[in-house]
C-alpha cells in the first residue's frame, strides 16, 4: 500500500471522522462564545473537565447518557465562571481564559487524585459502541466513514445542524450574532447584553465539555492526564478557519482530522526513514497553510474581545 492509495481507504476516513468528533463539539462551543463576542481560551481546561466529569459519572454507576449530561453541565458551570469574569466584570478575555484553563485542568487532576488515590493504571468504563445505521452504512467508503460511528459522533453532526439552525433561523440566534457584532444594537432593541452573553458562553462551554467527554467515553475508555493534548487550541484556529460559520468549521475539523489520520498511517509506512515527530507535525503545518489560504479575509465578529459596559462614557 502506498501513500497515495491510502487516501482512498475507507478506514482512513472513518478514522478522520472519529478524530474530528471531539473537535467538532469544541469548535462549535468556541464558535458560539465568539459569535457572542467572548473569546473563550478556557476551552482546553473545560474539555478536560468534560472528559473527567463524564467518565467519572459513568464509572460511579450512572449510564452513558447521564455521563454526557453531567459533562455538559460541568462545562457550563466553568463557562459561567468565565462569563461572569469577562461579561459583567469586563476583565481581559485572554487572561481570564488562560486562567480558566489552568484552574479547570488543575482542579480536574486534583479531583482525580482524590477519587483514585491508590490506582496505578486508570480504571476503565464501558464506552459508547459503534452503531451501524441500516442501509446507509452499506454505501461504499462513505458508509464506513460516516455511518458506523458511535452515537456521540452522530450527536456531533446533529449539533452542527442544530447550531447553524439556531444561529441563522431563530430570534435568539439573531440576537447572539448581533451581540458579537455590536452590543449597543442589542441593548437599543431592549435585550439585555449581559444575560445574552453569559448564556452564550455557558452553552458554548457545555459543547466544549462534550468534546472532552467524547475522549473518555467514546475514543478511549478511561481518563488520563494531558489527554486533551492541545485539541482546544486547534479548535480556536478552526473557528477562524471556518469564518465563524458552523458548516465551514465542520469541514475544517474533518480536514484537520484527515491530516491527522493520514500522518498516523504514514508513520507506519515511512517511520523507518524519518523521526515520528515529523509526522506529528504534519497536520499542524497543513492547518497553518490552510489557515493562511482560507482566513486572510475572515470577517471576525466586530465586538469580539471588547467588554460592554452599560451606560459607560
Amino acid at each position: 500500500m502506498d501513500a497515495i492509495s491510502m487516501i482512498f481507504e475507507a478506514s482512513l476516513w472513518a478514522a478522520a471522522v472519529r478524530i474530528a468528533s471531539p473537535l467538532i463539539f469544541a469548535t462549535l462551543g468556541e464558535l458560539i462564545c465568539e459569535r457572542a463576542g467572548v473569546l473563550n481560551l478556557g476551552i482546553e481546561g473545560i474539555m478536560t473537565v468534560g472528559a473527567f466529569a463524564g467518565w467519572v459519572t459513568v464509572y460511579s454507576g450512572a449510564d452513558l447518557w447521564t455521563g454526557v449530561m453531567v459533562a455538559a453541565l460541568a462545562g457550563a458551570a466553568f463557562g459561567l465562571l468565565h462569563g461572569f469574569l469577562t461579561v459583567p466584570l469586563g476583565l481581559s478575555q485572554h487572561v481570564t481564559g488562560i486562567g480558566i484553563t489552568l484552574l479547570a485542568t488543575s482542579l480536574t487532576y486534583y479531583a482525580y487524585r482524590v477519587a483514585f488515590p491508590e490506582v496505578t493504571s486508570p480504571p476503565k468504563i464501558e464506552t459508547f459502541v459503534p452503531l451501524e445505521i441500516p442501509l446507509l452504512s452499506q454505501i461504499p467508503i462513505l458508509g464506513e466513514a460516516l455511518f458506523r460511528q458511535t452515537p456521540l459522533t452522530y450527536l456531533a453532526f446533529i449539533a452542527v445542524i442544530l447550531v447553524a439552525y439556531v444561529l441563522y433561523r431563530t430570534p435568539i440566534g439573531l440576537a447572539v450574532r448581533t451581540v458579537g457584532e455590536n452590543p449597543a444594537a442589542v441593548e437599543a432593541q431592549g435585550i439585555d447584553v449581559t444575560w445574552l452573553r453569559l448564556g452564550a458562553v455557558a452553552v458554548g462551554s457545555a459543547f466544549m465539555a462534550l468534546g472532552g467527554a467524547f475522549l473518555t467515553m467514546s475514543a478511549f475508555n478511561s481518563f488520563y492526564f494531558d489527554m486533551v493534548n492541545g485539541r482546544g487550541w486547534i479548535c480556536i484556529a478552526l473557528v477562524v478557519f471556518g469564518s465563524w460559520r458552523p458548516g465551514k468549521a465542520l469541514l475544517g475539523a474533518i480536514l484537520f482530522a484527515a491530516f491527522d489520520a493520514y500522518q498516523l498511517r504514514l508513520q507506519q509506512l515511512a517511520g523507518a526513514y524519518l523521526p515520528y515527530q515529523v509526522f506529528l507535525m504534519l497536520p499542524y503545518i497543513l492547518s497553518i497553510l490552510a489557515l493562511i489560504a482560507m482566513s486572510r479575509r475572515a470577517g471576525y465578529p466586530r465586538a469580539l474581545m471588547i467588554p460592554y459596559r452599560k451606560g459607560e462614557r
Binding site: 450574532r177 444594537a185 462614557r313
Partner: protein, 514 residues
C-alpha cells in the same frame, strides 16, 4: 405641525432629571414636556447634556434624581426594553446597527420572543416594505448594513423605531453625517411622522436646522435648561446667544490681495484598492488665501490630506510647493517646507493623549534647537514654549505637564493650533478643524485661521460644514469620488448648488470631458 395638534396632550414628561458623572453634573434638574404631533428641538453645545438626557430617557443611563412619564405612566429607570414598550424609539448618533446582518435582521431583532423556534421573516418583510412605502424611507430589506450608505443606515434606524410602533421618536444629532439633500429628505420624513401624530425630539447644535424643523426649542447649557422658545418667536442669533451664554462675534473676512502660488497640484492621481482615491485633481493655493474643500467625507479628502502631509506619494501628477515640484513624499520634509497640519482626528493623529502638553507641542520639533541640545531635550526651554502656547492660545488645562487626553476637544484643538501656528507656517492644511467643537471654540479657530491668512499663509480648509466654508473661504471646490470640481469664488457660491455637487451632480460630465 398643524395647529389642531396644539392642544396640551402631553405624551412625555421629564421631571427634575439630575445625573452626575463624578463631580460633573451632566443634567441638573431638567423638566420638560413633549406634545403629540410636535418636533421639539433640544439645542445645546457639546457637553451641554443633551445626549445624556436622552440616554436617560431611553434607559441607557439611570438618573440620580427625577422621573419620566410616558403617556401618563412612570417609566422604570434604566430599561430600554420598557422605553421601547411604551412607544419610545431612539435614533442614536452612533448607529446601533450590526454591520454583518441584513436590514431586515436589524429591524426584527428584539421584536420577537427570543425563544421562538423560527423567525417569521416573511411577515416582517411585508411590514417593513409597507412602512418604507408609507414614510418614503427606501431601503432594500435584504441588503447587508455594511453595504449601505450613511443616509440609508439612518433610514434603517428610523424604520427600526417605526416597526415597533414608536409614538415618540428621539433623533440624536441626526444630520451630523448627512449631505444637505439627505437632510432635506430627513426633514420631509419627520414632517410626515408628525402629521401622523408622532412626537419628535430633535437633538442638534446646528441652528439653521433647528429653525427649519422644530416648533419649539429647548436650550441646554452646562447641564441646565436655560430657555424654552417657540421657534416662530426666535431667531438664530437669539438661540446662539442662549446656547453659548454670551454674544457671538461673526468672523469677518477682510478682502486681501492674493500672494504667490504656495501649493499647486496638477492632475494628481492616487490609486487605491480597486478604485482610485484621487483622480486627476488639480488645484492652486495662493498665499493670503483660504480654499475650502467641500464634500461628504470619504470622497478623497483624506487622500488629498495624506499627499499634502507627505504620508503617501501620488501615483501620478505633480505636486509643487512654491514652484518646486516635490519628489520625495515624507512628513518630515513637508513640515520642513512650512506645511502645518490640523488633522481630522485630533485624538488619533493630532496629539498623543497619554503624553503631556509639553511633550506634544514639540512632537515635530524635538530634534531642533532650541529644544534639543547635544542630543538631549532641554526641558526648560520646552516648558517655556508650552507655557507660552497655553497662555497665548488660552488652553484651559491643569498645566504643561498634564496628560493631554484630559483636555476638552476645544482646548486640545487650541493646543494643536498653537503648536502649528508657532512655526509660522506658509501652508496650513486644516482638515475638519472645528468638528465637534462648541461655538466658542469654533469662533476661536476661525479667528486664528483668518489671522494666518492675513499673515500670508495659504490655507486648505477641508470641511463638511457648508456654513463654515462659506464664511471663511475665498474659493470653494467640491470633491466627489476622488474628483475635484473647478474652484468657485465665494461670491458665486449657492449652498443648494454645492449640495447638489456634493451628491455628484456635474461630475459625470466632467469625467467624459477628461
Amino acid at each position: 405641525m398643524s395647529d389642531s395638534s396644539d392642544t396640551s396632550d402631553v405624551v412625555l414628561r421629564l421631571s427634575g432629571i439630575t445625573k452626575r458623572f463624578g463631580p460633573l453634573v451632566a443634567n441638573d434638574a431638567i423638566s420638560l414636556d413633549l406634545h403629540r404631533g410636535e418636533v421639539l428641538a433640544l439645542l445645546g453645545e457639546n457637553g451641554a447634556g443633551k445626549t445624556t438626557l436622552m440616554n436617560i430617557l431611553f434607559g441607557h443611563y439611570v438618573a440620580d434624581e427625577g422621573t419620566i412619564e410616558a403617556f401618563g405612566v412612570v417609566l422604570p429607570p434604566g430599561s430600554p426594553k420598557a422605553a421601547l414598550a411604551r412607544g419610545i424609539g431612539m435614533v442614536h448618533q452612533h448607529f446601533t446597527l450590526a454591520d454583518n446582518l441584513t436590514v431586515l435582521d436589524n429591524v426584527v431583532l428584539g421584536t420577537e420572543p427570543l425563544w421562538r423556534a423560527r423567525s417569521r421573516h416573511a411577515k416582517a418583510r411585508g411590514r417593513l416594505a409597507e412602512l418604507s412605502e408609507t414614510f418614503g424611507l427606501a431601503v432594500k430589506s435584504d441588503a447587508r448594513v455594511a453595504d449601505l450608505s450613511v443616509g440609508e443606515r439612518q433610514r434603517v434606524e428610523i424604520l427600526k423605531a417605526l416597526y415597533r410602533d414608536a409614538r415618540i421618536l428621539i433623533l440624536d444629532e441626526p444630520t451630523a453625517v448627512l449631505t444637505p439633500q439627505e437632510t432635506e429628505a430627513l426633514f420631509a420624513t419627520l414632517q410626515k411622522l408628525v402629521e401622523r401624530g408622532l412626537a419628535i425630539i430633535f437633538i442638534s447644535h446646528k441652528l439653521h436646522e433647528v429653525m427649519a424643523v422644530s416648533r419649539r426649542v429647548i436650550v441646554l447649557r452646562q447641564g441646565r435648561l436655560v430657555a424654552e422658545r417657540k421657534t416662530s418667536e426666535t431667531d438664530r442669533h437669539d438661540l446662539a446667544e442662549l446656547m453659548v451664554g454670551r454674544a457671538i462675534p461673526e468672523p469677518k473676512v477682510e478682502p486681501i490681495s492674493l500672494g504667490s502660488v504656495a501649493l499647486s497640484l496638477q492632475s494628481v492621481t492616487l490609486e487605491g484598492e480597486g478604485h482610485p482615491r484621487l483622480q486627476d485633481v488639480s488645484l492652486e493655493l495662493h498665499g493670503n488665501e483660504i480654499v475650502g474643500i467641500a464634500g461628504v467625507s470619504g470622497n478623497g479628502q483624506g487622500a488629498l490630506a495624506e499627499i499634502i502631509s507627505g504620508i503617501v506619494a501620488p501615483s501620478g501628477g505633480t505636486v509643487s510647493l512654491f514652484g518646486q515640484p516635490v519628489r520625495h513624499f515624507d512628513p518630515a520634509r513637508m513640515v520642513a517646507h512650512g506645511i502645518a497640519r490640523i488633522p481630522e482626528d485630533r485624538h488619533a493623529v493630532g496629539v498623543v493623549g497619554d503624553l503631556s502638553l509639553e511633550e506634544n507641542v514639540i512632537s515635530a520639533r524635538y530634534r531642533e534647537a532650541p529644544f534639543s541640545r547635544r542630543g538631549l531635550v532641554d526641558w526648560k526651554k520646552v516648558r517655556e514654549f508650552a507655557t507660552r502656547i497655553i497662555a497665548d492660545y488660552d488652553v484651559r488645562c491643569p498645566g504643561p505637564q498634564a496628560a493631554t487626553r484630559l483636555l476638552s476637544g476645544g482646548n486640545m484643538q487650541k493646543l494643536i493650533l498653537g503648536r502649528e501656528m508657532a512655526r509660522e507656517p506658509r501652508i496650513i492644511l486644516a482638515n475638519q478643524p472645528t468638528r465637534g467643537l462648541d461655538i466658542g471654540a469654533v469662533g476661536y479657530v476661525h479667528q486664528q485661521l483668518l489671522k494666518a491668512r492675513g499673515n500670508g499663509a495659504g490655507i486648505l480648509l477641508i470641511s463638511e460644514d457648508l456654513d463654515e466654508l462659506l464664511v471663511l473661504s475665498d474659493r470653494v471646490v467640491v470633491m466627489y469620488r476622488g474628483r475635484m470640481s473647478p474652484p468657485i469664488a465665494r461670491s458665486d457660491v449657492a449652498i443648494r448648488h454645492l449640495g447638489l455637487m456634493m451628491a455628484g451632480h456635474g461630475f459625470a460630465g466632467q469625467a467624459h470631458a477628461a
